[in-house]
Symmetry: C2
Subunit: 206 residues, 2 copies
Amino acid sequence: MTDGPGQPERTGAGTSPRPGRPRVAGTRQRVIEAYLDLVAEQGHAATSMDQVAERAGVAKTTIYRRWPSRDDLTIDAHQSLVDTTVPPDTGSLEGDLRALAGTVMAVLARPREARVMQASLGEMLTNERLAALYRGQIIEPRIALIGRIFQRAVDRGEVPPDVDWRTLAYALLGANIFRVSVMAEPPDPAMAQRLIGWIVSSARGE
Amino acid sequence: MTDGPGQPERTGAGTSPRPGRPRVAGTRQRVIEAYLDLVAEQGHAATSMDQVAERAGVAKTTIYRRWPSRDDLTIDAHQSLVDTTVPPDTGSLEGDLRALAGTVMAVLARPREARVMQASLGEMLTNERLAALYRGQIIEPRIALIGRIFQRAVDRGEVPPDVDWRTLAYALLGANIFRVSVMAEPPDPAMAQRLIGWIVSSARGE
DNA sequence: GCGCTACTGAACGGTTGCGTATCGTCCTGC
DNA sequence: GCAGGACGATACGCAACCGTTCAGTAGCGC
């Protein structure tokens, strides 16, 4: 994985090349990867900038040349976890939710991502700045996704328009997060599928 | 609130009185209270032993004479949060769950307890020792309570014996924790009640 | 009084971490 | 070749914190 197009290295041809030695391509991504690795292994509090520098194979000075502070690196690293999935459309509420759950479960099945999520979830409960970012970048988009799925179901006439989809979404997300993060049990796709079953009936039967 | 009977001061008449100056009664509790206050206000990471000593009106030495380390104080303080709720018995699954939700909501309405729970929830995601304690002392008893409530419903013939009550419990707890801790929204008793309605129908209709 | 222990208050050693500074080297454009 | 910025390695300054130590004081039993 080289530098993604999202945050191009400033060596890009678009900007007028600055004088002096150009920045090494890939440094940015290597630092972020190192940071995410360490957070997955140790959590936020136990991860220091020196460790990040060492694992990235980069001098600490180089990191501070690109990010003004540790917090900025934290924020930036989490931006790279943002999900860009488009909401699937299977033609039914149940199908849509099952498809969505499948993608979420796929992410949770990747150990590093799951651990970063868990560590960040813990950190956001005491770090308000990270909390705001995490909510805005990670959580809210997924809830909005569920909202769109329910909206389509409403348009189809599958569920009543005043369905309390937000509570149902909280139950779906909350149950899985609770299981994985609080109870420290492995993610369970079958449980998610059962949940979706009763969520759909609840939404319909309202 | 004086020293509870759970962990009596060693000045108790039961033990043969040690020679020398007796320990000041109430110190233990004052330190724990100070610690919980500070955790509620600042979270675990930002709370130092010096702060605890100052707020408790006690020398730091005194704290270290009773707890070998910061971690031990943390663990001990959490022991005092143990839930002593008895499972309600209203005669129906829905009534029992609503009653239980009421007591949980009452706890969440107390700011300090709610904040300590939230801060500890965050901390346990990176502190394995605290996690084990928190699960055992705080989470598991509540889940067991829900389990007993469902068992009674099974005995009554209200729901089938193979009801997947654990998943439903995760949804109930998870949705509320998600709302309060992750979304940083205030606790919503009405939401809890709606969830219970859905949960009961799902349990019955299974 | 004497021994024993609890307690205070202050200081200390050691560690850790963030962010900065310095300096020599490397790479690119001109 | 030269200027100018990127880079590595290392050392700092500074602050915070943990856990300990020490000297002096206070309360209890004998």
